[in-house]
């Protein structure tokens, strides 16, 4: 039983990162109807910026801020320079352009920072605290969970309580009507990409210290898992992304804990295929499907 609780807490902490990352995917999907396949590479690039600042100033918080700001800039840049021009050809063109971007970013990172894994220290203790004899969450896990949940809450407020959020939703839902009503759809798209990339940057900063360290391929698997999480929750639903992320985190934690770490990739694949074949719209799609 102790092991079960440990795996549960571990899964929740890992799931929070997948949730944040899936949220970034959902943000772009809602804004532009694109799955950003370059999300992982973009997050790694901003994490490199973050850790460069950390090692220069010694402050984790400055590094985190730098990563998030560079995420905002990178997201806006990618939308303005690439995706806007790939858009008219349809979603597959955007997928291919995003993959080209993955190659370019990973190669550039390799050229600038080298191909070896770089250490990325965690800002908090990663040893688990024991509560009542059960090894539970570590302070770092708490920080990850807290940060991810804060972002979710902030985004929820942004989308439901602010005029900008309303305009973004309008631009994504009915671009032509929004344009007639005076919403700058292009600007909303850029904002959506910038926000998503910033959330991705945060997720990158959270996940890198738990892995082998900084490397241009550090987020490849995380991206696939986050995509699975987003699909589990339904690409259209931010709440779904969070629930999907936590769920996938838990499932992977149990599979890793009880069956061994080698089986994790296979579990992701089986989960993804099962969800897509049984319920392609995700777990949170029932009401939406009836509307359409």
């Amino acid at each position: 039983m102790e092991r079960f609780w440990f795996l549960t807490f571990d899964g929740l902490a890992g799931g929070a990162v997948y949730a944040a990352f899936a949220l970034a995917l959902v943000l772009i999907w809602r804004a532009a109807r694109v799955v950003n396949f370059a999300q992982g590479a973009m997050a790694v690039a901003t994490a490199y910026v973050g850790y460069a600042v950390v090692s220069a100033t010694g402050s984790y918080w400055l590094g985190l801020a730098a990563a998030i700001l560079s995420g905002l800039a990178l997201g806006a840049l990618v939308e303005r320079v690439l995706m806007r021009f790939a858009g008219p050809g349809g979603p597959l063109n955007q997928v291919i352009v995003a993959l080209g971007l993955v190659l370019v970013i990973q190669a550039m990172l390799g050229m600038i920072f080298g191909n070896e894994y770089r250490p990325a220290p965690a800002p908090f203790d990663t040893d688990a605290l024991t509560i009542g004899g059960v090894a539970a969450l570590s302070p770092y896990d708490l920080w990850v969970l807290g940060a991810a949940l804060t972002v979710v809450a902030l985004l929820a407020v942004l989308f439901t309580r602010t005029p900008v959020g309303l305009r973004m939703r309008a631009a994504a839902f009915a671009p032509e009507v929004s344009r007639l009503l005076g919403v700058s759809v292009g600007r909303m798209l850029t904002l959506g990409w910038a926000l998503a990339a910033a959330v991705g940057a945060l997720a990158g900063m959270l996940v890198v210290p738990t892995g082998l360290g900084l490397h241009s391929h550090a987020m490849d698997l995380v991206f696939v898992i986050a995509f699975t999480a987003a699909v589990v929750g339904g690409l259209d639903s931010p709440v779904g992304a969070v629930v999907g992320g936590l769920l996938v985190g838990l499932i992977l934690s149990y599979v890793t804990g009880y069956l061994g770490p080698d089986t994790t990739p296979l579990a992701v694949l089986v989960l993804l295929l099962a969800v897509l074949l049984v319920r392609p719209g995700g777990l949170f799609s029932a009401a939406r499907a009836r509307h359409v």
Partner: protein
């Protein structure tokens, strides 16, 4: 996938339509398509065989690698270019074929079964097993669209190599498997260059693949593939079984990837998961997009590009005098950055790819020469 009507209204019928050459105009050339393709295959084959005579061992290996990749890129072009299904998982399908060939060759060797037919037999086994894998992915793919399909195939590419570490007993984990190398038959003489023999085998596989696929593309099934790509609803109204066509396209494409993977494994007589990373799957897509998705000729450019991509880093570091640290950083990465950039530029500016450029150039040349009006079309379309 839910889409709002406002989005779908102005968009073209198929997302990939923009990449492809226009509808064929004018008459079809007369005569048997099969015979014409056969003649081209025999001509190209003879030419390459003659050329391999003059080449050094390493260059022959390069020819062999181009041929191995050609099997894969040709099948991939049929799937992405003709049928409009995006697959990022062809590297994993190559791995499936390669591992099947390795396991079959090992098993035959242990039982001391020898003979000229062992290699074709194990390649055939590789094709069959990979086609089966393609069937599984294809069944899922036929229900999925656009980014979902891309995501699933990306997951396949990322995760399938991990299978080798789960079943270490069969696949020997990260070390991989090795099997007896192919040696030239004694009839060719004792001093026959082994690399040249490998190039011949790979060439035979590539020519067979191209011949079959070129005929397939011109057949009724090929027309169904394109109809499904251009407009699923119209295709269904015309009585084409859309899902079955999509699954079959995946099976055909997977079979080609399996053959290519098997030949690729044969060239070094080893297989290991490190040879089939996620990057390979991305390269395959990149190669056929830069080569040109519209025709099988684009796949030839793609195969050449893939080999160039593998050899470029070595050439660069050899000919430029760089400091050791810089050379180590540039190794592989510089070529990748260049190719990624080219991929983006091609996608945004010249969706026809290299073959589109070649076609525009030949049309212009033909007009300039004005020997006859530019109505005759090249046979590869």
């Amino acid at each position: 996938m839910t889409t709002t009507p406002t989005e779908t209204a102005p968009a073209p019928a198929s997302p990939l339509r923009r990449l492809l050459p226009g509808a064929p105009a004018g008459r079809e050339p007369r005569g048997s398509t099969l015979l014409r393709h056969l003649a081209v295959a025999v001509f190209v084959g003879t030419l390459v065989v003659l050329v391999t005579n003059q080449l050094a061992p390493y260059q022959n290996l390069q020819v062999a690698r181009v041929c191995a990749f050609l099997c894969v890129t040709a099948g991939h072009t049929v799937l992405v270019g003709l049928n409009g299904q995006l697959s990022l998982g062809h590297g994993a399908l190559m791995a499936t074929g390669a591992y099947t060939v390795a396991l079959t060759q090992q098993a035959l060797d242990e039982r001391a079964v020898r003979g000229w037919w062992t290699l074709p037999a194990s390649l055939l086994a590789g094709v069959a097993v990979t086609a089966l894998g393609g069937l599984v992915v294809g069944l899922a793919a036929a229900r999925l669209r656009g980014p979902y399909l891309a995501g699933v195939t990306l997951a396949v590419a990322t995760l399938v190599p991990a299978v080798t570490t789960i079943f270490t007993g069969v696949f020997n984990g990260e070390q991989g498997l090795s099997f007896p190398a192919q040696t030239p038959p004694a009839a060719l003489g004792a001093y026959f260059q082994p690399e040249r023999w490998l190039a011949w085998i790979a060439l035979a596989a590539a020519l067979l693949t191209m011949l079959l696929l070129a005929n397939l593309a011109r057949s009724r099934f090929g027309r169904s593939l394109r109809a499904v790509r251009d407009d699923e609803v119209a295709a269904r109204l015309a009585g084409i079984p859309v899902a079955r066509t999509q699954v079959l396209a995946f099976v055909v494409s997977a079979a080609c990837a399996g053959l290519g993977g098997g030949v690729y494994a044969m060239l070094t007589a080893t297989v290991a998961p490190g040879k089939f990373p996620l990057d390979l799957s991305l390269f395959l897509l990149m190669a056929i997009v830069i080569g040109g998705l519209g025709s099988l000729a684009g796949a030839v450019w793609g195969a050449l590009l893939l080999v160039a991509l593998q050899d470029l880093p070595g050439l660069l570091t050899e000919h430029l005098s760089l400091s050791a640290g810089l050379a180590q950083r540039l190794e592989g990465n510089l070529a990748l950055a260049v190719f990624g950039l080219v991929l983006i530029v091609v996608m945004l500016a010249a969706p026809g790819g290299l073959q589109g450029g070649v076609r525009a150039l030949t049309t212009r040349l033909r007009r300039a020469v004005r020997r006859r009006p530019a109505t005759r079309r090249s046979p590869d379309r």
